[in-house]
Symmetry: C2
Subunit: 156 residues, 2 copies
DNA sequence: TAATCTGGTTTCAATATGCAACCAAATTCT
DNA sequence: AGAATTTGGTTGCATATTGAAACCAGATTA
């Protein structure tokens, strides 16, 4: 009946998808990365219904992916800005973008390049790398329990 | 009324999300990467309803992310295996996994390490890199039109 | 002062999800 | 061999989510 949620899953992918895993959330984050901050702009750029946009923005704020800032001079006027947690989705979004470009090229061939602001050069494809920095595939990895259970660590 | 779809969007992230952007699809792909191939195993590991799993597997097969292989000796017995397109989601899944681990650590602290099979070392955090291989953030990139419109290229 | 912009909320129809029951072919158990 | 179970689904029904459009109040612009 109720839609499944994964807040307490012990799978970090499931927990991540719980926060940004619906149709719209990552697109909102993407546009925030492109510079969009205002409710109306999100709505027009995404073509999303207002009630859904409200819900998604609120959820992203709840989950600390965006922060809602009142930038009004006299009354209130809001902006939604990426937090560090939100900006940290950059590799996810870019990897997804590159995958989409590679396997489902733009129908009108109007693909856009992402380039390094300082050098003007295109960025690299996002890869998974081993400790030596060599690119690896899914066949090259295995899952291991964290060796020291008491130690909090940022495991990959 | 009808749920929005992004098949023909000129945004590659939208097109990607159209194929793997719902609550379950990426989890199915993840478990496929962990080695799961059989219907029943997906169902038990994910705790997903059978009709939804049917739908998602069929959609992933339609989109060429999985292929359905009849491995039956006498009658039919199916396996769902990742295609190259599916395996190519590895950076996406790993980036999402690392993001989930970093910002929403496992409640029971039972996080699992991904390690390189040959060296036994943990893998690196997935990064976006410029042409020189230096990690960059969302602030370091800009979007540019592909310079030669007639040329088909794998733009980032 | 009137019109419009902004950031919403409400209502309602269409669609998606989840559970449980059912099913047929293949396999395993006794 | 016959019965029970496994596999890979489908169907029906109740609930949840989505999307369009109407509405709204405060701030801004004409």
């Amino acid at each position: 009946m109720t839609k499944k949620r994964f807040d307490d899953s012990n799978c970090s992918v499931a927990r991540a998808l719980n926060q940004v895993g619906d149709w719209w959330s990552l697109l909102v984050v993407l546009h925030a990365m492109y510079g969009t901050r205002r409710f109306v702009d999100f709505q027009q750029e995404l073509g999303i219904a207002k009630n859904i946009l409200c819900d998604r923005l609120a959820r992203l704020v709840d989950n600390d992916v965006l922060k809602k800032v009142d930038v009004g001079e006299h009354g209130s006027r809001f902006e939604y800005r990426l937090t560090e947690k939100g900006r940290d989705l950059f590799p996810v979004v870019i990897a997804l973008r590159q995958w989409g470009n590679k396997w489902n090229p733009a129908p009108d061939d109007a693909s856009l390049d992402l380039r390094d602001r300082t050098t003007g050069q295109p960025i690299q494809m996002v890869q998974v790398q081993n400790a030596e920095g060599e690119p690896i595939t899914v066949r090259d990895v295995f899952v291991s329990a964290v060796p020291v259970p008491g130690t909090k660590k940022d495991s990959a």
